[in-house]
């Protein structure tokens, strides 16, 4: 196992979030994860966060897993010059060394399809981020109110 860089270690200690195992993805730090509460289970949910690559190698996010949703996937909302918004699967997400990728409203988001249970404000749900190198990062995503606008609520 590749040791954590001091900065990544500091982030890990500070946020207590990632459990790391392999090189590359071992240097990914997740910050500011949040999701909105859902009303039931019939409509998809979304989760947001910032992925920071603290290492020296590029990493590629290839997929998600969570007991909350049968079909979690990274999707991207885009708004064109005419103000028309639409959403498509984002595919793999490359994070160059030293850079970060924000999953935030109106852009990339973890789309949580086929919810298995209701997302309740005040609770958290586990989310696994799968990387191309075989590594995973496990986080707990806090569920905020339905009208939350960011990680602060």
């Amino acid at each position: 196992m590749k040791p954590l860089t001091p900065t990544a270690l500091a982030f890990s200690l500070l946020f207590g979030l990632p459990t790391v195992c392999l090189a590359g993805s071992a240097d990914v730090v997740v910050e500011g994860a949040w999701a909105r509460a859902s009303i039931g289970t019939s409509r998809p949910g979304a989760a947001y966060m910032t992925l920071r690559n603290m290492g020296n190698d590029p990493v590629t996010l290839v997929g998600l897993a969570t007991p909350l949703a049968m079909m979690p996937d990274i999707h991207e909302s885009k708004t064109d010059a005419n103000g028309v918004s639409s959403m498509t699967p984002a595919g793999e997400i490359l994070i160059p060394p030293g850079e970060s990728v924000a999953l935030e409203p109106g852009g990339l988001h973890a789309m949580l399809m086929r919810l298995q249970y209701k997302m309740v404000e005040g609770e958290t749900f586990p989310l696994t981020l799968n990387f191309a190198d075989g590594g995973t990062v496990n986080i707990d995503v806090p569920i905020l109110g339905i009208a939350a606008r960011g990680p602060e609520g």
Partner: protein
């Protein structure tokens, strides 16, 4: 102090620029006030309680109109959350503003579906739906765009593309302007208060 010819020319340009700027500001304001609005809010749709509503039912109130669909997990909840924040920020003046969420996905968004979804953000927001024909007609009167996009990786195999601006109409139903998706609630609130002169 004596100015060189070059400095005089520069000052001349500066003066013209200032006058031009002030004139533009005044003319823009006049455009906004003495307006002949580009179009009027015009709809007859069913609200999330199953009651038929028309634009006339809301005459005398400012209207905030957003188009979307309940299966939209990102853009639509984000805008509804912004609208909820705006309504909170208006305090007692919220009584003069009626926000609407009009679905462009009438196949899925029945009044019952909207009743679950829309008021959860703010009790003041009215969800509106109708037959596919009614929604099409509404999109034409509001001059918005929407389309169904086949997408295997989406719930029910499709998603919707749609105009995502938040539209403002005055108490006479005249179009005032629109905020682009992602405009922070604080900005919308301050613009809106300016328009309402509160």
């Amino acid at each position: 102090m004596r100015l060189s010819a070059f400095q005089k020319v520069l000052w001349g340009f500066a003066t013209i620029a200032v006058i031009g700027f002030v004139w533009l500001q005044i003319s823009v304001r006049n455009d906004q006030r003495t307006d002949d609005p580009a179009f009027h809010a015009d709809f007859e749709l069913t609200d999330h309680q199953g009651v038929v509503q028309t634009d006339e039912d809301f005459a005398g109130r400012w209207m905030l109109v957003f188009f979307g669909f309940a299966n939209c997990p990102d853009v639509c909840p984000t805008t509804l959350a912004e609208v909820a924040t705006v309504m909170d920020g208006l305090g007692p003046d919220a009584a003069h503003v009626q926000p609407f969420f009009i679905t462009i996905d009438p196949e899925r968004d029945t009044p019952e579906q909207l009743a679950e979804f829309v008021p959860a953000f703010d009790a003041n927001i009215i969800g509106l739906t109708g037959t596919p024909d009614q929604i099409k007609r509404t999109s034409e009167t509001f001059r918005i765009y929407y389309e169904k996009i086949e997408e295997a990786a989406s719930p029910d195999g499709y998603t919707m593309g749609h105009s995502s601006q938040l539209f403002l109409f005055d108490p006479q139903g005249g179009y005032v302007g629109a905020w682009a998706y992602g405009t922070p609630a604080e900005q919308i609130l301050s613009d809106l208060k300016g328009r309402m002169s509160i």
